[in-house]
């Protein structure tokens, strides 16, 4: 269920502005990789290039290669829709579909793929909500609107929705930044459990969070305002936070800037 990602020579643009430049890295399967770095360093942009969500913004484009196992996501005959089914995404702010019930939210992806059988959908709902540690809280109100849940619950609902389609990779774009500490903790625990099945990439603003949840950490930085973001280094989380090999990383970790 989990695949590795190899990125080589990747740059992304918004119109004529270059947002990230020449990034190469490998992301291990069944592990958590965290992206950290100051605001505007392109870590979210980079994350969105990994499932071709970057290009849904008008004028945005990507150069370079992203290999999922051995398939290049940016090859000309690749269908971005299929890519997004294989690589799920959880966003910064919880975004359950406001007009749908909890149940419908979870199965939204499967319904799109044409799954109609009630028994299959029921199974998936239960499995995904259990996987997202939400089943106990909502199993008796599956037909209530998803928007009626608390922020933390909504975010776990979004995770359930993302894992319901059984992706190989799960991308998380600052999934806890809109949540309170207790909800954040619940999500962090969940990430720890999910990594046994999925390759997880998480962008976070919070260095403690990166240290807590991730196996490997990538530090991004930019030379100045208006300059494209670059990958500074990628290493085991322990090493990054104890003994990074680049001075800029150490400065950032120890709070000297950013």
């Amino acid at each position: 269920m989990a695949k590795r990602i190899d990125v080589s020579g990747l740059s992304a643009y918004y119109g004529t502005t270059k947002a990230i430049e020449d990034i190469s890295m490998s992301i291990e399967p069944r592990s958590v990789t965290a992206f950290i770095g100051p605001s505007g360093c392109g870590k979210s942009t980079f994350l969105r290039t990994l499932n071709r969500m970057h290009e849904v913004i008008p004028g945005a484009r990507v150069e370079g290669k992203v290999l999922l196992d051995d398939e290049n996501l940016y090859a000309s005959n690749v269908d971005p829709v299929a890519v997004r089914r294989s690589i799920g995404m959880v966003f910064q702010r919880p975004n359950p579909f406001p007009t749908m019930s909890i149940y419908d939210n979870v199965v939204a992806g499967l319904r799109l793929a044409g799954v109609k059988k009630k028994s299959v959908l029921d199974d998936v709902v239960e499995r995904s909500l259990k996987g997202a540690n939400l089943w106990k809280e909502v199993h008796n109100r599956l037909n209530k609107p998803g928007a009626g849940l608390s922020g933390g619950q909504q975010q776990r609902l979004c995770i359930a929705r993302a894992i319901a389609v059984e992706p190989q990779v799960l991308l998380m774009d600052e999934p806890c930044s809109a949540l309170d500490p207790i909800s954040t903790l619940a999500i962090e625990d969940l990430i720890g459990e999910l990594k046994s099945q999925f390759t997880i990439v998480i962008v976070t603003h919070n260095m403690q969070q990166a240290a807590r949840v991730s196996d490997r950490t990538a530090f991004f930085n930019l030379a100045g305002v208006g300059q494209p973001g670059k990958l500074i280094e990628l290493d085991d989380t322990q090493r990054i936070f104890s003994n990074p090999s680049v001075q800029a990383t150490e400065d950032y970790i120890s709070g000297r800037f950013g």
């Binding site: 829709v81 997004r84 995404m89 579909f97 406001p98 992806g109 793929a113 929705r161």
Partner: protein, 325 residues
């Protein structure tokens, strides 16, 4: 600056002070304007009802079921059956054509068109809304009708079996179908404009949620955009319906009026409330005028209901989206 004291004393004060008097006058002026508006609305209903009552008491036919319109005859007979039928059928045809097309155009502007086209095009559609209805009517009569000949006989030939498109009398296509098409073109801009705004308000994060689940663009629109925009589309359509029901002069120019009530929408003839008023008004006598007022009152009530419904839907939508903000 009439008053320079920063904190006016609380409570009612008898001593007239400039600022207070000024405030009171101004506020009552503003409130008076608001009240005058309510009075006008009440007066519209009241005067029409009063005149209608006079006409109805002289009517020897059944106001609801009679086909003829001869209120000035020695023995006045008039009814709104043909008019109500024509008004509703032509408006429905207009809706059936205009609503899907308008949603398409709105989606085109909000989600499909390249940006360079979208903005000027949205602007053009807005300008289309400003074209006076008499010009639409003139265009309909002198340009559209000659071009409808072929389409009409075509529909009759291939879809005649549906009864609806069966043409039983030949003649110029001055029929309810043509009127429906013309009305559709006229209400397109308003429906498009409102739907477009609603579609633009769909939060980006909902669209991205759908895309990230592996939705194609159309599936994204179906899961995220249309459900969110549904109340807006409904109320936009109601606004369009209101206009179609009340349109006068374009219908008067295009439809050849007679008192035939027929579901063969390709047969020339029929009538609508507004058209009937416009055409019969000039030569109407006293009772004739009152009878027209009665039909106008019915039209007024119908449009009131349609618009009221639209407003209620919009109001509900506001609460609903507030809960999810």
């Amino acid at each position: 600056m009439t008053s320079s004291s920063p904190a006016a004393p609380r409570g009612r004060e008898r001593r007239p002070r400039d600022s207070r008097v000024g405030d009171k006058i101004f506020m009552n002026l503003a409130r008076g304007a608001g009240i005058l508006l309510l009075v006008i609305m009440a007066a519209i209903a009241g005067f029409l009802a009063w005149r209608s009552g006079m006409a109805l008491s002289n009517n020897n036919g059944n106001f609801l079921t009679t086909f003829e319109w001869t209120p000035d005859a020695p023995k006045p007979v008039f009814g709104i059956a043909v008019l109500a039928f024509g008004t509703i059928v032509s408006a429905l045809i207009a809706m059936v054509i205009a609503v899907p097309v308008a949603i398409g155009i709105a989606l085109f502007i909000s989600h499909y068109a390249p940006r360079r086209i979208a903005q000027p095009f949205a602007y053009l559609v807005d300008l289309l809304a400003a074209v006076p209805s008499i010009v639409y009517g003139l265009w309909g009569a002198l340009f559209l009708i000659p071009h409808m000949d072929g389409l009409t006989s075509w529909l009759n030939q291939y879809l005649g079996w549906t009864y609806l498109f069966d043409q039983t009398r030949t003649g110029t296509p001055r029929n309810l179908f043509t009127v429906g098409i013309l009305l559709a073109i006229m209400i397109l801009p308003i429906i498009t404009a409102v739907s477009r705004e609603v579609f633009r308000q769909v939060p980006r994060m909902h669209e991205e949620a759908a895309l990230a689940l592996g939705a194609t663009r159309w599936e994204m629109i179906r899961t995220a955009v249309l459900p969110f925009g549904r109340p807006g589309i409904i109320s936009a359509s109601m606004l369009g319906l209101g206009r179609a029901l009340g349109e006068t002069i374009a219908v008067a120019v295009v439809l050849s009026a007679n008192s035939v009530l027929s579901l063969h929408i390709l047969d020339a003839g029929g009538g609508t409330f507004a058209q009937n008023i416009a055409l019969k008004f000039a030569e109407a006598g006293n009772n004739g005028r009152d009878a027209l007022m009665a039909s106008g009152l019915v039209l007024f009530v119908i449009t009131l209901l349609v618009n009221g419904a639209a407003r209620l839907i919009i109001a509900r939508r506001k609460e609903y989206s507030g809960a999810n903000a």
